[in-house]
Structure formats: C-alpha cells, structure tokens
C-alpha cells in the first residue's frame, strides 16, 4: 500500500514538474505590423501574458488538454484559437484585425470649425468662449468673426465668408433653418444676432464643403445645437447699461423634462443720451424679447421646443448726401417670431431618426422720408432725391419640415438620408405697389460616412432640390475625405456644389431666374491636441450664375474666391492664458448686381487677422479678455450709368481696419460655497484705441460728394450685472479657467 502511495506521489510530482509547457508566438495586425501590449489568455486558467515591444509573447503553463487561447487588444477584434496542450511546446501566431472606432477614427473636418463639448478634446470654441471674447459683446456672429474665413464687415449684419455676401451664410438651429437670425436695422449699421450663445451647447461654423444635409447656403453654414436639459432649476436676472432681463429655468424632479421662460427689454436711450451718436435718433432703438422652451426625454431620445418673439422699433435722421439742406429720416417697427421643434430618437437596430420643424413670421414696417431742417416732409421734384421717400410693409412667413434617418453600417460607418420641405411666403407693399412671392422648395439628400480604416474616412453625399418659384431642379454632389497623417494630425479634402435661390430683392423684379451656384474645393491640414489647435486650409471657390441687375435681371454673373487661412490656439504655454490667432488671405472677384465687370467686392478684404487672448486672475476673481482685429482696406466704387452701361467713375480702397476690444468679467461670489446667488459683472469696450474705422463710401448722385460709412459711434461701452439663483455657477468659472 505504501509503495503504491509513494508511486502515486512520485507520479503526481513528476507530472507537475515535467508538465510545464511553453506557449509562444507573435501577434500582428492584418497588415503584418507587430502589435504591442496585446493580452494573451489561456481561457479558464490564470495563465497568459502580454505581447512585448516586438509583438512576441511567451508563457508557461501546467494545464493539460483542450484549451482555448485568446488574443485581445483594444480597437481590434478578439481572436480565439483551440489548442491541445500535451508535453510539447506550442508556437502559434495571432493576426488581429483592426476595428474602426469612433474615438480613434479621423473625422472629416475640411471647412468646418466645431465648437462645443463633444467628447473629442480638440474643441475650438464653447459658449463660454463666445461670451468671453472681447469685441463680440456676447454675440455669436461677433465671436465667429475672430475665426479664419470671416470678414470684418461692420456696416451690415451677417457673416461674410470667403468672398461671399452676408446672405450666403445661413443659420440652422437643431436642423431648422432660421429665416432671419438678426434684428432688423437701418442701412449702414450692423445689428446683433437674436439668439443668446447660452442657448447652445455646440456651434459648428462651416466655411465651406459642408454636408448634404444643409442647403440654400452658398458660402457658409452656422449649425447651432441647443442644450439638452439644464443642470438645475434656476432664476436669472440681469441689468445693464442697455437692457434688463428676467428668466427662469425649471428642471423637473424626474430630471426628464424642463421648461424655461425669459423676458428681456433693451433700450439704448439712456446710453445714447450719454454717449453721442452720429445719427439723430428720434425713436430710440428698443427691443422686447420673450422666449420660451420646453424639452423632454423620450424613451431613447429627446424632444425640444423653442420659441422666441421679438418686437422692435427705431427711428433716426441722417444728413442727405445730395443736399445740405435735407435729411433722410428712417423709421422701423418690426416683429419676429421664430418657433422650432425637434425630435431625435434612437429607433434600435442601428437606426436613428432626426425630425425637425420650424415656423417663422417676420413683419417689418419701414418708412423713409426726405425732410427739411425742421424735420418736415419735403418733395424736391428731383427724382434721385425723392426716391428716398417711401414706405415698406413686409411680411415674411417661412415654414420648414425636415426628417433625417440614419442607419449604422459595419463598424462606425453610417448612411443618412432624408428630405425637407420649405414653404416661404412674402407679401410686400412698397409705397403703393403690392407684390407677393410664394415658394415651395423640396429637397432630398443622402450621404454616407465611410470609415475605411481608423486612418481613412470619406463622406460622400448628394442633394437634390426643386423650387416652385424658379421651377428648376438642382443636383449638388458633396464629397470629402480625411486621412490621418500622424499623431493628432490629419489632412482633409472636400469638394461640393452649393446652390441658393436668388434673394427676394431680385425675385420681385422677375421670376425668370435660376439658382446661383458655388463650387468649393478645400484642402486642409490640422493638428490638434488637448491644449493646442493648429490648422491650415486652402480653398478655391467658383461662383456661377450670380444675379446681374443690369441691363436686365439675369443669371449672367460669375466670380471666384481663393485663399489660405491659418489658425492657432494655445491654452497651455502661459499659465491661465488662452489665446488664438487667425489669419485669412483672400483673393476674390465677382461680377454681380450692377458691377461692370469682375471686381473685388466691397465686402472683401485681402488680408484679415485676429488675435484673441483671455486670462483669468484667480486672486482677483476676474477674467481679462482682449481681441485685436485687423483687415486691409476694402474696395469701394462709384458706378455711374452712362446710358448704355455702368462704368466705374471712381474707386479706391478704404484705410485698413484696426480694432482693439477689451472686456472683463468679475465674479464676486466665486468660490464662496455658501453664496446663494452667482453674480457676474461684465465691463466691455470696443475700439479702445479709438482708431478711425471706415467701412466704405457713399456717393452723391452726381458723384462729386463722397461720404465715409463709419460706425454710429466710434466706441461702444457696456456695463452689466448678471445674477442667477439656484445653481452654483462658480464651478462653471473654475472649469473655464483652470
């Protein structure tokens, strides 16, 4: 018996000693590149290892019999192999196929600046960035003007992008087109945007080559995505040199729905009585704005409703350019009501739906009058002067409905398709002439995101549109590629055709017009890490079928734009200092309106640069922000009709544009955990150095008098106090400044 037992022990021990079997091999990817750090596991045992810097692995095991051995690596498909372990050493190799993942894959970025708190580290601008950009005065458009591609145009609202006019840039909120994102105003004075930057969690400023999902924008698209649910319920109040406001946000206990309502009243009367303005205001610009929102979570999605109503008035007198005895009076009363609703839902099985609808109705009631020195109406008998007396009553309704479906394909590739329908109706009464325009625009679009590997992606799409007023179709292909060139670096190429309906201004004259067209070619290189962003972009744009107004209204216009743009942002090098530099070179000419030939348009400067810096001083609880903008002079022309054609009677270039803006934010309750309210004081000033700014020139009818177009006042000062109760915003301030 003892013998047997001894025998048994000997056998057992010898087994365990001799039974150590070595398992080794190499792990590579499908392109035969070694994989470092892959985890090799003999399943159901503790045994295994990690592949070394040569992709080799080797370990020993006591296990015997049938086993599954597994090789695992992030971003790769796991591979299993069956093995039988006997006494022999085992050599086996693994080939792991790369899996395309959202985090690692390149994104197609040609032409667009993404801002917002996307998971990607390299965001360019957040809503806090917008409000802390000096010179922007809390205006989205003002902040976007510090990015490459945009012009420093001050005499008209809108974004003038890469040789395009302001009306060639369109804004979209949650997929819905915004019929008029700016307040109405008088000629030669730019107005602000109507939407607060805090409404949005993400802003994409696309300067070209954008997706087939967006249409009717020839040059640029500003794509705004509204915030989901607010963090907490709160009440906000504000008071400043030009406005007062009160609002509330209420988040339901279930944290599944919220509503908010805000009222604001702006009146610049007090401010204008202290700071002298060039025009003589007889009705001080005043605005009422009321907005409300309602949002709720659905099973796997979200519904958002937003409504904003504005009413405004203003009235001003300026000297008449043709006669020193006369004045031009201008009065405006207007309302603007914008409603948008969106519904996003994950339908399962890789399907997603995005539905949106919007309705806007805008009324403007304008009167313009030639007046004498006693501010009384006069008729001179000279038609070129008397043309300055008229009234306009204008009503515009735009409704839009859009649905987009998305299906995920293998990996993270996806197809997207959908359609949209716009109905627009405009009724205008110009003095005693009535005119109406009505259009049904139908569009269908499809695009696909193809991730060929983690380093190569393509976006291929097309858009088809039909407008009933033009009774014409257009087909617009859009293609872009992105290729990863190294760590954090990529190159992108984009090509696309873009169409836009002619402005109503032209359609009142004739409906016998076609779409205006632009073709974009863009090449871009960008390198972005946590704290730095660098990008360089070159573009070429070809304009076709632009609207000519002489000798007849037709599509005979044409043009081009080309240029190079640079952007550099650095949040790290100097502690607590965040700065960016943008530079745009633009070479553009176009023949449109009454231009006698292709000329550099009055809204285009050859060189534009901005320097923006923000520094927060913790000790003083104060943020200091500055912006310096520079642009070379823009051309101006005096075209005179010689009877058979327009000729350039006079031309020149304005002096270069320089502006230094400064603002500071003081947060007195910062870091006081027990403070019940959160307060932000804002002080800002534009054109600190009081540099003369000339946007262009107006000419008298005979061409003998040339008058500079300048801002209504050289500088703008702002002092405001914003208070919120219920939520500790100091965290907001900390994360923005650490």
């Amino acid at each position: 018996m003892k013998k047997y037992l001894l025998f048994l022990v000997v056998i057992l021990t010898s087994l365990s000693v001799s039974a150590q079997v070595k398992i080794s091999g190499v792990v590579r990817n499908h392109r035969a590149k070694k994989i470092i750090g892959a985890s090799i596991t003999l399943k159901n045992s503790y045994d295994g290892t990690v592949s070394d810097s040569m992709g080799n692995f080797s370990f020993t095991t006591f296990e015997k019999g049938e086993f599954v051995i597994e090789a695992k690596m992030s971003d790769h498909k796991t591979v299993e192999q069956k093995i039988t372990i006997t006494k022999e050493a085992i050599v086996l190799n693994f080939v792991l196929k790369e899996e395309v993942s959202e985090l690692k894959a390149v994104t197609v970025t040609a032409g667009s600046f993404e801002a917002g708190d996307k998971k990607r580290a390299a965001t360019v601008m957040s809503s806090l960035d917008i409000v802390t950009t000096a010179s922007a005065n809390g205006d989205i458009t003002g902040a976007l003007k510090t990015l490459p591609g945009a012009q420093q145009v001050g005499e008209q609202e809108g974004l003038f992008v890469r040789g395009g006019a302001g009306y060639e840039t369109k804004q979209f909120i949650d997929g819905s087109y915004v019929a008029n994102p700016f307040f109405s105003g008088a000629a030669d004075i730019a107005t602000r945007g109507r939407f607060s930057p805090f409404l949005f969690k993400g802003t994409v400023f696309s300067t070209g080559g954008y997706s087939a999902l967006y249409g009717q924008a020839l040059s640029s698209a500003v794509i705004l995505e509204s915030i989901d649910l607010p963090e907490k319920s709160e009440i906000d109040a504000s008071i400043s040199s030009v406005f007062v406001g009160l609002g509330t946000q209420h988040l339901a206990k279930s944290k599944k729905s919220s509503y908010g309502i805000n009222y604001g009243y702006t009146n610049v009367g007090l401010y204008f009585s202290i700071i002298k303005q060039k025009p003589d205001y007889f009705t001080m610009p005043a605005f009422h704005s009321l907005e409300g929102n309602f949002r709720f979570k659905t099973k796997k999605g979200m519904v958002k409703f937003y409504s904003s109503f504005n009413a405004q008035e203003l009235g001003l007198r300026r000297a008449n350019i043709d006669s020193a005895d006369l004045k031009n009076a201008f009065g405006l009363k207007g309302t603007n009501w914008f409603n948008s609703m969106s519904w996003k839902e994950v339908l399962g099985n890789g399907w997603k739906m995005n539905w949106s609808a919007s309705y806007s109705t805008i009324t403007d009631d304008i009167f313009a009058q030639i007046q004498n020195q006693n501010n009384e109406y006069v008729s001179t008998g000279k038609s070129y002067i008397d043309a300055g007396s008229f009234t306009i009553k204008n009503t515009t309704n735009v409704s839009q409905i859009k649905s987009v479906f998305e299906k995920k394909l293998r990996g993270i590739s996806a197809v997207r398709f959908g359609s949209e329908f716009w109905h627009s109706y405009t009724k205008i009464k110009y003095s005693s002439y009535y005119s109406t325009l009505s259009d049904n625009l139908f569009a269908a679009f499809a695009e696909t995101d193809l991730y060929i590997t983690n380093g190569l992606a393509a976006k291929i799409g097309a858009r088809v549109e039909q407008s009933s007023i033009l009774n014409k179709w257009n087909v617009a292909p859009r293609i872009s590629f992105a290729y990863k060139t190294g760590k954090d670096a990529q190159m992108s190429l984009a090509y696309g055709d873009f169409y836009q309906k002619p402005e109503n201004l032209y359609l009142y004259q004739t409906k016998d017009l076609g779409y205006v067209k632009a073709t974009h070619y863009i090449a871009n290189y960008s390198k972005a890490s946590e704290f730095y962003t660098f990008r360089i972009e070159a573009f070429y744009k070809k304009y076709q079928d632009l609207i000519k107004t002489y000798p007849s209204y037709n599509n005979a216009g044409s043009g081009y734009a080309k240029g190079i743009e640079l952007f550099w942002r650095d949040k790290k090098t100097v502690k607590n200092l965040d700065y960016w530099i943008s530079y745009s070179y633009l070479d553009t000419k176009r023949d449109f309106n009454n231009y006698p030939m292709q000329l550099q348009p009055t809204f285009a400067a050859n060189h534009t640069a901005s320097f923006v810096a923000k520094k927060f001083v913790l000790k003083w609880k104060t943020g200091f922000n500055m912006t310096y903008s520079y642009a070379t002079g823009r051309p101006y022309y005096n075209f005179q009709n010689t009877g058979s054609k327009y000729e350039i009677k006079d031309e020149g270039k304005t002096k270069s544009y320089n502006s230094l803006g400064f603002s500071l934010n003081y947060l007195p309750n910062l870091g006081k955990p027990k403070a019940k309210s959160f307060i932000v004081w804002v002080l800002s000033m534009t054109n600190v150095l009081n540099q003369e700014q000339v946007y262009g020139y107006n000419y008298s009818n005979n061409g003998n008098i040339k008058q500079a177009i300048t801002p209504p006042a050289p500088q703008f000062f702002f002092l405001g106090c914003f208070i919120s109760w219920g939520v500790d915003r100091s965290q907001d301030a900390i994360n923005n400044n650490l």
């Binding site: 295994g48 290892t49 580290a121 870091g671 955990p673 907001d732 400044n737």
Partner: protein
C-alpha cells in the same frame, strides 16, 4: 486493493483540486499584488492589469481581480495619451467587478478615480460633469463603508488640487487628510488580498501641507 487505490487517488485529487483552487487563487493574487507594487514601466503595469483580468476571467465569481485590474487601468489613464479611451477600458472592467459585488465601497471609489481621469482631458469644459460625478461616487463610497479611508483620501487629494479661492488648498485638505490617516491606521482589510493602499497619497498631502 485496486478499489482503495482508485478511491484514494480520486479523493486526493478532488481534495487537492478543491483545496488548491482557493489556495491557488490567493497565491496568484498575492503574487500579482507583489508584481503590482514592483511595476515601474507602463508595460509592466499593463502586464499586471492583464494578469488580474485573466484571474478574474478564470475565476468568474471573484470581484477582487477585476477591481485591481480596473484600479490599475484607471490610475494609468492619467498618464495615458488617450485618457478617455483608457478610462473607458477601466470602466468596462470595473463593471464586471460590480456585477459580482454590488454597492462596494472600493469599487465606487475607483469609479471616482475614473471620473477624474475623464476630467483631466479638458478640465475647463469637463469640470461640471465629471467633477460632480466623482463627488457623487465618493459620497456613495463613504456611505457604503464609513471605515474605508480611500474615498476620504481621494476627497482630500482633490481638495488639495483645487485653488484656495474655490474653497480648496491645504486649509481644507489637511483636516480631511488627517482624518484619512486615522481611518487608514484603524483599517483592517478583510483578507490579505483586499485593498490596503493609500498611505503614500496621505503622506504626500500631509507632507506638502505641513
């Protein structure tokens, strides 16, 4: 006789197997913990994490190996090139631990570590979300086990790294670190392979806040 031999063979084998399984687990864990202490390079740390993961996969019912694997991944996420990815990997493993052991103070504490790693990608824009989430997890961790020093240590550490103007700095961090040191001195791990770490961090805070 034959029967006796076979019987004894079977008996010894099963006993050996049953006994050794537990023994083997503890031994493997102990050796992995040694390896974890000794690991210096990122490669060595990754190898230890993989080892813990293998032990967890083989055992199927033990939360500790997954906990350690997740802890190592979460801590190395701070130095990782792609912090989000590393933190997401840590979360995936920690989820496995949590599936086996619900409402565990140590696991909740590691969740907070993962939140801080996410936050470090872009503290400016992520403070709100991940800072709050970390605090929530630390509070839950303390609630699950008031004697656990580790969530207190993380709180103290986070305060120390917050500027004084925002209610951080040594003034608020030091008392918390002292409390953590006391908890640590009194802390008795449930077994030799249960978590005991934290002394170095506390000492560091106390040292710099002298």
């Amino acid at each position: 006789m034959k029967k006796v031999i076979i019987l004894s063979f079977v008996l010894v084998n099963t006993m050996f197997a049953a006994f050794s399984q537990n023994e083997k687990f503890t031994a493997a864990m102990a050796s992995a913990l040694e390896q974890m202490k000794a690991a210096k390079t990122p490669e060595e740390t990754a190898a230890v994490a993989a080892k813990f993961e293998r032990i967890g996969d083989a055992e199927k019912t033990q939360w500790l190996p997954y906990y350690y694997a997740a802890l190592i991944k979460a801590q190395s996420a701070f130095a990782a090139k792609d912090k989000d990815k590393a933190a997401d990997e840590a979360t995936a493993i920690l989820d496995k631990a949590e599936a086996l052991e619900k409402n565990n103070s140590e696991i909740l504490c590691t969740r907070a570590t993962i939140c801080y790693a996410h936050m470090m990608v872009d503290p400016m824009t992520r403070w709100m979300q991940y800072g709050a989430e970390a605090t929530k997890n630390l509070d839950a961790s303390i609630k699950a086990d008031a004697t656990n020093p580790r969530p207190v240590i993380l709180k103290a550490n986070s305060l120390k790294n917050t500027p004084e103007q925002f209610g951080g700095g040594c003034e608020t961090a030091k008392p918390l670190a002292e409390k953590a040191a006391k908890l640590l001195a009194d802390f008795k791990p449930a077994s030799p392979i249960h978590p005991t770490w934290g002394k170095e961090v506390v000492d560091q805070i106390l040292e710099s806040c002298k």
